[in-house]
Subunit: 285 residues, 3 copies
């Protein structure tokens, strides 16, 4: 049998990303289903704390994580406000990995960044649980399909092929640079209250090359970020948190996600500024 | 040796359910103990967010989860307000699985639903940690016992046999249907704020057979739920969340747990109604 | 090759302790990195809810947990306010285990309690990710180094040896007993709101030997705890939670961490007393 080599490791990896939280047991149930079908698979939680039903946030977190997983990893991702409706359930092979979940844009960054190989609508019930509910496809469809993929089942047997152009996508285009200005947004707020923007670091090379502001020099020539809705301007930047001189001082930094971030030294930038996900910012180089 | 075949997989599964949260390191310590005794076991978290010391809630979450785990799974469950007192520590073999924890009713649904094989009081200290504290039997007794079971140790060597009728039970009887009415309760509130009742879907076949209310028809003949203490009536029902027409609209649905649920389209039913676990409801068909 | 036997189990254990939370995907990314390098390793979460950037709290939680893990376990610990600065990244072999993380005092209890073998500054980039960010060494340095150690790589190849005396330490000295008094602090608050003090049980043998106060006897001769800043005195003690007679009654108990704890029967001591981490207490025997 011409078996596609999806599992170079002895223990294939299934990575989970959902908005289920960990309180209800739903994630545990998905892992139970996976262990029943693919006992040798290793499941890894990316997060289960995606803001409920927030597809763009789930898509973005996935985009910052997937590259760090082994070749052949199967990502089972469930942020699924349309569960039970006519939205498709899909599995996608892109780059050297697999992505399983609802066809609602959750894989938009992956599709924009990785080589597309093939995708299917999960129409073959032989790879689902015998009973499929209307409200928990994570358990009934996505977990079993992910487990079968981890077992080496070929994507093509899971359902009907679907063209890449037919897959749902959300807007993942980075903001444009217009002269020295970039109109952008806060795309994520992390546990420390750091604000992550949708400005890729590659768009702002001056952030890594310009002299570091150590707080004792004129800063007009420094890159700055303005919150139009909050009336706040930040025009210092540092390479890392401890470099900032004073507690409570806000600054711009290169977040490890690959995007421009805003932090407050030994503080919480989101609380300091009353900033929420999605608010607009203006970057000025 | 006539060894009971408890571990058909190469990697036996130990599933954990506690009210410990994940902040204190207690769950990690239990897994360290398990890894020390049963290095090939795979531990899966069902949840560690059971409401503190809430035995009925833990028992119910376990009841919605255990069927999805592989044959031979060892469930180590610790919601244990009586830890250190004279309450028994037990291990139970029921159906094709094992259940380890305090004898306080946590396994009531399992005992009501599965074939009972045998049970023991965990009186044999050879299978506990050398030092047993008065306040953390999860670490000192339940985790090591679960690990030994995963290793294939026979239940009977773990302690003294105890009869099924002697095991503690909480009330797991579903509410009764009286004519068109069912007096019931909210038994769980999930992460999305959906309210799960203790009415099994099997008790209300009309929910799946009656025509779907699409919001444009007379609804007097539809099933409805009344919150006597909150003065609220809900009389629409939908098969899934996206089917509901309007944001903020409450509706009845068949929850994937197998029970009747109440949701608010793109909203939080618990917050909308100020509903808490345990409040009474009246279902009318 | 004279290979040090770090991995007696078929599945080496990597235990993780961070202040990253589980919402951002950072922990999942670290596990993805580990699975890429050490596919047979088993990762176990101790906790990811250490209070943000609170090194003493992380060090203490680690101290209550590490003994329960198998020989050869690699602890990857990241509470790292100084990430990106000139603080060292280190790996330490102490007792029969390995500890990887920033050199900021996180391993102080371990170093005080275990036999030191050797330690290195993680200066060899061959064991890091190809690109190292300034803000996420958990992903770029500590996870890959931990995975290589789990694979059996020798500590000495990871970087330059550093003397034990050069490693950063925080104060881990237990409080002193002066006559019948001990001036101490609240060092941890657990999920149930129990207050854990920094008084080791070994310092207060009377807690286990004195007669148990069952609430119906004169208590002047009992050990007691005073909160100077809160004006509260507690002078009952019990062996376990259910032994306390009345709901809402505060009492002293022997916490399973090995330290003196303060609880409220069926209640939350932290909320009852308005107590916070770090506040002073006075113990009187």
């Amino acid at each position: 049998m011409n078996h596609q080599s999806t599992t170079p490791n002895s223990r294939p990896v299934i990575a989970l990303l959902t908005d289920f939280g960990q309180g209800d047991g739903d994630v545990g149930v998905m892992k139970g289903v996976i262990a029943s079908i693919a006992p040798d698979a290793q499941t890894i939680d990316i997060t289960h704390e995606v803001a409920p039903q927030n597809i763009p946030s789930g898509a973005w977190i996935l985009s910052t994580a997937y590259r760090y997983f082994p070749q052949g990893t199967v990502f089972v991702c469930v942020v699924d406000p349309g569960v039970g409706s006519s939205r498709n359930a899909i599995a996608v092979r892109a780059g050297d990995k697999f992505f399983v979940g609802p066809d609602n844009g959750l894989f938009s960054y992956v599709l924009a960044q990785q080589t597309f190989h093939n995708a299917v609508v999960l129409s073959n019930p032989a790879y689902h649980l015998p009973q499929v509910s209307s409200t928990f496809h994570g358990r009934d469809i996505f977990a079993p399909v992910g487990a079968h993929l981890a077992n080496g089942v070929e994507l093509s047997v899971l359902g009907t092929a679907i063209d890449s152009t037919k897959l749902q996508r959300i807007d993942t285009e980075p903001p444009l640079r217009q002269g020295g200005y970039i109109e952008a947004h806060i795309i994520h707020i992390d546990r420390f209250g750091n604000l992550i923007t949708d400005i890729p670091l590659t768009l702002v090379p001056e952030l890594s090359s310009s002299p570091i502001d150590r707080g004792n020099q004129h800063v007009d020539s420094q890159p700055g970020i303005n919150f139009p809705t909050l009336g706040t301007v930040i025009n210092r930047h540092y390479r890392f948190f401890a470099e900032s001189a004073d507690d409570g001082q806000p600054f711009i930094y290169a977040d490890s996600s690959g995007y421009v971030g805003i932090a407050v030294r030994n503080g919480n930038a989101a609380m300091t500024f009353g900033a929420e996900m999605g608010i607009p910012i203006t970057y000025k180089s």
